[in-house]
Homo-oligomer: 253 residues x 2
């Protein structure tokens, strides 16, 4: 079996991605975004299906032009590395950008988004796309959050974090970072005060929590303010990606 | 085979739901929301699995107390009517609320959300939950939008449109309705002007379009204003549920 196919299958596991510092990007749109980004591409798996459309053929040509190692597979073999129900015949393997919390630039006015145990890959991908689109300065994932380089996250982020700085870190590390850089932490919480964006400090991190349980106790305890969006009676909460979008829009605009 | 099981399986098809004016609600949370709403429940399918948790047993007892017809099935039979990967052993069959566009109350200040060809059931469910939570007065689905009573939409709406008015209609019907009631139509469009909520007319309908193609030509042409959210370069668009959430929050708040 091809080395690249074995590698792509292995990279379905988080541990393997963390060890190898590699991830897979699947689908035409995602791989197009990858090639348009500074992220280094290690290799690609394709099937004949990719050549069925002009867009697919253009993508294949772009990979060839870069000298990327390409392995052509049968649809059956390809499927063993694919993560989608309807594969488009293209998977790229690429390097996880080396980003550290400690090297994050913190301007006098900056807005950081913290994900505290957000589990659903679709939600996290949508949030990364939103954070990049609305101009958040970085997204910081705490433990309990799905891996930012999970194939489903990568697909639903539509290339957002190929450019937007997104890092995993631990709570003690984030806690020190916030203190050292003078970044104020706000937490989204159903029982928080109504959001008033005009009160925002220059350096702000806004944390959103797990889909069911909300923020973790240490994050909640450390937050300078808990904020909420006023909701109609009978509706307990908004989807976390929608809530994050509203918070970021209000705080950045 | 039980009549209710046959019915539930039939209701997986949109045509059957439209003909019978019935839909299925699956999962503990969704059925709890259903029982807390004014929607009429016709019957329920359960498995032993439902009785494995106190919350499941309470739900079963609540159904019994109402005198709802309950059919207990093997997990295998239940699975033929289920729409989820991990069934929780409860499906209810209920009546689609009879709501007509023409009977929608239109106050001097009201905010209506129009879905123009939004296809993904998860997006539409999330949008209904958002519209209900933020206090939109109704959600109106144009052709090309997934059925509001599709099982996945119902599940991801988390009970929102058991209460929040949500209707399907055609473009000519919506067009007349807007004219007769003096409701101004705005359309969300990547090339629209930046949103300024302070300019909003009292009676406003905001339309969001298909995930890829945006608004349909007649809707775009009829809109009094096309509005957009300013996005960072390199990000083409936001997820439609996130965008709808930001528009509604800005326009209603």
């Amino acid at each position: 079996m091809s080395r690249l196919l074995t590698l792509a299958r292995d990279l379905q596991r988080r541990k393997a991605r963390e060890r190898q510092r590699l991830f897979v990007a699947e689908g035409i749109r995602t791989v197009e975004e990858l090639l348009a980004s500074p992220v280094a591409v290690t290799g690609a798996l394709t099937t004949e299906q990719l050549l069925a459309t002009p867009r697919g053929r253009a993508l294949r040509a772009a990979l060839e032009q870069r000298g990327t190692e390409i392995v052509e597979l049968s649809e059956r073999n390809f499927a063993t590395a694919s993560d989608t129900d309807s594969p488009q015949g293209i998977i790229a393997i690429a390097e996880i950008p080396r980003r550290e919390l400690s090297s994050l630039a913190v301007a006098d006015r900056c807005t950081l988004l913290v994900l505290d145990g957000v589990q659903d890959p679709g939600n996290v991908g949508t949030i990364l796309r939103t954070a990049a689109g609305l101009g958040a300065n970085a997204t910081i994932a705490l433990p309990g959050t799905v891996d930012l380089w999970n194939a489903k996250v990568v697909r639903s982020a539509m290339g957002a974090h190929f450019q937007h700085p997104a890092v995993h870190t631990t709570w003690p590390q984030l806690d020190s970072f916030l203190g050292e850089r003078g970044v104020v932490l706000w937490g989204a919480d159903a029982h928080g005060a109504s959001l008033h964006a005009s009160d925002r400090p220059g350096r702000l991190a806004i944390a959103v929590g797990n889909e069911g349980a909300g923020l973790d106790a240490p994050v909640r305890a450390r937050a300078d303010r808990l904020v909420s969006l006023p909701l109609a009676s009978g509706v307990e909460s908004l989807n976390v990606a929608v809530a994050a979008g509203i918070f970021l829009y209000e705080l950045i605009a």
